[in-house]
Amino acid sequence: MIRSVLIALLVVAVLGTGYWGYLEHQEKNAVLIQAENNYQRAFHELSYDLDHLHDELGSALAMNSRERLSPSLTDVWRITSEAQSDLGQLPMSLMPFSKTEEFLHKIGDFSYRNAVRDLDQEPLSEEEYEQLKTLYSQSGEIQDEMRKVQGMVINDNLKWMDVELAMAAQDNPGDNAIINGFEIIDEKAGHFSETDFGPDSGHITKTDEEIAERVEGLEEIDEQEAVDIAGEFLDRDKDFEVEVDTTGDGLAYKAYSLTIEDPDDGHDIYMDITKKGGKPLWLLEDRQIETADISLYDASEKAGKFLEKNGFESMALVDSKQYENTGVFNFAHMQNDVRVYSDAVVVEVALDNGDIIGYEGFSYIANHEKEKPVNQSLTREEARDRLNPALEVMEHHLAVIENELEEEVLCHEFFGTIDDDTYRIFINAENGREERVEKMDRAEPVYDFD
C-alpha cells in the first residue's frame, strides 16, 4: 500500500519535473529566438543600408547640376548613420570590422561636409567629384560582398548566436561563415581607406600624437627626476611613498605613471609625467569628499594659485562648477585679452580642505606652443550683426577655438540669451563664419523616486 503510494508520488514528481523542464526549455528557446531575431534584423537592415547607400551615391553622381546635390548627399549621410547604428547592434566588437566602420564614417563625413555647404556659391570641385565617383565604386564592392554574406545567411539558415558562440569559444573563430564574410569585407575596406579624401577628410589627429610632437626634442628625464617634479607639482615633501611605471607602445609619447601615497592622509594620488621634458599630463587623487567647507570662489582662487605656482602663465578662469563637494574649474590661456580655449587646463579642488585633487593639461601641452591666429578683420559690431537678432547679447570676448577641421581660429565669442536659455556663439573673426553655436545646459532637476 505504502509502496504504491510512494510510487504514485514519485511518478507525479517525475512528471512534474519533466513538465517544468519542458516549460523552462521553451522559455529559454523563446528568449534565444528573440535575441537571434534582433541580430537578424540589424544584419539585414545593415545590408539594406549598404544597398541603398550605393544607389544614393549613384544618383548623386547622375545629377545634372552639381548645385542640386544637397538632398542626395544628405540622404547618403543619413544612410551611413543608420548603417553605423545597425553595426552597433551586432556582436562585432571582437571582430575586426573597424575598417569598414571607418569607411562608413568617411563617406558620412564627406557627404555631410558637402551637403551643408552652399553648393550654389561653391559647387563640387573636379577633385571632389572624382572622390564621389571613387566612393560610388567602393561602396559597390562592399555591397557585393555584403550581398554574398546575406545570401549565405539566408540559404544556410546561419545564426548570429553561433557567431557569438564561435567567438566566445575562441578556438579558431575563422571557421564561421559569417565571420569569414565580414573579414573579407573589412580587408577590402582597409584598402579603400588609403584613398585620399583630400586635406579635410576628417583625419583625426590624436592628442597623443600632438603631445609627442610637442615634447620631441626635449630632454629626457629619469624616474627620480619625475618623482621630484611630482613633489614640486603637488607641493609635497619628497619623502612620500611612490611607485613608478612606464606607459607602453600604444601611446605616441612615453610617460611615467606615478602612484603616490599622500603622506598626510594615506590616499593615493595618481599622475602621469612625460618622459621627455617632464611635463605633468594629469593628476588624480582618490578621495571621497564628504563636506563642502570652503566656497567655490575660494577654491577657484586656490586653483588659480596652483597653476601660477606651476608655471602656467596668465590663465583665466572661464568656467566653474560645483559637483556636490568638488569644484571643477576650467582655465584658458589669456593672450592679449584673447581667451585661448584650445590651451585649456582643468583643475579640481576638494571643497573640504582646498586640496588640488585633479589636474588635466592634455590640450594645453598639445597646443600651447603653437602660434595662435591673430588676424581679425571683423570688428565686434560687424560680428554682432551676423547673430540671430532674437539673441540678446550679454557678454563678448575674443577667443581662439579649434573648429571642426581642428584648426585654431580667432573668433568673437558671444554669450546671449533667447528667452530663458543661454547660448554661446563663436563667429570667426576673419571670415565671419558661424563656427559653433552651443546651447548652454541648464541645471538638471533631481528626479527622486525613493
Binding site: 551586432l90 556582436p91 564614417h105 597623443d208 600604444g250 566656497s295 550679454m394 530663458d420
Partner: protein
C-alpha cells in the same frame, strides 16, 4: 553683596531677554547668507537664498533651484550693473548686504517648497500661497488637496487680499539704508521696505498666517532643512544625470575593486569610444553594444553603483583620461580573444591592460 548678586542676575536676565528679543526681532540674521563669495557654478543654500532674493525684486524669473547657472549669472550681473557694483558675477559681502536690506527671504517657505518638489516663485509683494504650485509626482493631486484642506484652521484664508502687482519694478527696489530695524518680528512677513507699489502692509498678514497652516506636519522637523538642499544639480555639458548614472553602472560592473584610476580609465574608454568613428555615438550605444563589455553580458551592469564609480565617470567627463586614449581594455587572466592581444598596449592599471 546680595543686592549686587540680584543686580547681576537681573542684568543677566535682561541680557537674555534682549538676546531673545533680538533673535525674535531679527530672524533674518540666522537665515542670511553665509560669508562665502558666491560664484557661478556654486550650489547649495546660499544660491537658493540669492535666487529667492533676486526674484523678490524681480531680477530673476527662472526656477529657484539652488544652482548658480547662467540664468542666475545674468540676473546677478544685471543687479550689479543697476546698482553700480563691479559687474563680475561674484556675489560678495556688499551685494549680499544690499540684498539683505532690500529684500526679504522666507527660508522656511522656500525650503519647504523645494523639499516637496513644487513649482513656486518668490516675488515680493505677493502672497506666498499664490506663488505655490502643485505637489508633483503623486498622480492624484486632487486627493492631496482635499486631504489637506480640513486640517487648515479657520483663519487660514483672510479675506482682505488685495491683488499684488505681478511684476515688481526692479528699479524701485533700491536698497535704502537704515530701514533694517523696521523689519517685522515675524520672519515670514515680507519686509515693508520692499517696492512702494507692493501690497500695503495690512495685506501682508495673509501669507504669514497661511504658511505654517498649510502643512502643519512639516513644522515638527525644521531641523531637516538645515542640511544642504540640492534640488537641482550641475551636470557636465552634453550629458544628463541619467547618462552619468548608466556610465557609473557600467564602470561599477566592470571595474569595482580596481584602483581609482582604473575606474576613471574604464569611463574614459567609454567616452573615447563615443568619440571614435568606429563605435556608436552615445553612452548607451557604446555600453550596450553586444559583447562590448562583460559586465553587460552577465548582468552586473544592473548593480547599484557606489559613489566612487560615479566620481570616476564625472572625472572622465571632465577630461581626465588615465588610459591614454585607449579604446579597448582586457583582463589578461580571463581574456578569451586572441585578437585583443594584438592591439598596441598603452598601460596596465590594476588588473586591466588598456590598449589602442
Amino acid at each position: 553683596m546680595k543686592k549686587r548678586k540680584t543686580g547681576r542676575l537681573t542684568r543677566i536676565l535682561v541680557a537674555l531677554l534682549v538676546c531673545m528679543q533680538i533673535s525674535v526681532l531679527l530672524p533674518e540674521s540666522a537665515d542670511a547668507f553665509s560669508d562665502q563669495i558666491i560664484q557661478k557654478g556654486a550650489t547649495g543654500d546660499d544660491v537658493v537664498e540669492l535666487q529667492s532674493r533676486l526674484q523678490y525684486i524681480g531680477f530673476y524669473h527662472d526656477t529657484i533651484d539652488g544652482v548658480y547657472g547662467w540664468g542666475t549669472y545674468w540676473s546677478v550681473k544685471k543687479y550689479q550693473e543697476e546698482f553700480g557694483l563691479d559687474v563680475d558675477g561674484l556675489v560678495g559681502p556688499k551685494m549680499k548686504h544690499m540684498l539683505e536690506k532690500s529684500t526679504d527671504f522666507d527660508k522656511e517657505f522656500v525650503h519647504r517648497m523645494l523639499k516637496e518638489g513644487r513649482k513656486f516663485t518668490h516675488y515680493g509683494g505677493m502672497p506666498l500661497d499664490k506663488q505655490k504650485g502643485k505637489k508633483p509626482g503623486t498622480g492624484k493631486p486632487g486627493r492631496e488637496e482635499t486631504a489637506r484642506k480640513p486640517s487648515e484652521p479657520a483663519p487660514a484664508q483672510p479675506s482682505p487680499e488685495a491683488p499684488a502687482p505681478e511684476t515688481p519694478a526692479p528699479g524701485e527696489a533700491a536698497p535704502e539704508p537704515g530701514e533694517q530695524p523696521e523689519a517685522p518680528a515675524d520672519e515670514t512677513a515680507p519686509a515693508p521696505e520692499g517696492t512702494p507699489e507692493a501690497a500695503p502692509a495690512p495685506d501682508e498678514g495673509a501669507p504669514e498666517e497661511d504658511i505654517p497652516d498649510e502643512t502643519p506636519e512639516e513644522d515638527a522637523a525644521p531641523g531637516d532643512d538645515e542640511a544642504d538642499i540640492q534640488e537641482a544639480i550641475n551636470t557636465p555639458e552634453g550629458f544628463t544625470d541619467n547618462d552619468i548614472q548608466i556610465m557609473a553602472q557600467a564602470v561599477y560592473g566592470e571595474a569595482r575593486g580596481e584602483p581609482y584610476t582604473g575606474q576613471v580609465a574604464v569611463a574614459a574608454v567609454i567616452l573615447n569610444r563615443i568619440e571614435s568613428p568606429t563605435f556608436p555615438n552615445d553612452p548607451a550605444g557604446v555600453i550596450f553594444e553586444p559583447r562590448a563589455f562583460t559586465a553587460v553580458a552577465d548582468g552586473q551592469i544592473n548593480l547599484d553603483p557606489d559613489d566612487t564609480a560615479r566620481r570616476a565617470v564625472l572625472d572622465a567627463i571632465n577630461g581626465q583620461d588615465p588610459s591614454g586614449d585607449a579604446l579597448y581594455y582586457f583582463n589578461p587572466d580571463t581574456a578569451t580573444s586572441g585578437w585583443i592581444w594584438s592591439r598596441p598596449q598603452i598601460k596596465r592599471i590594476g588588473k586591466h591592460i588598456f590598449c589602442e
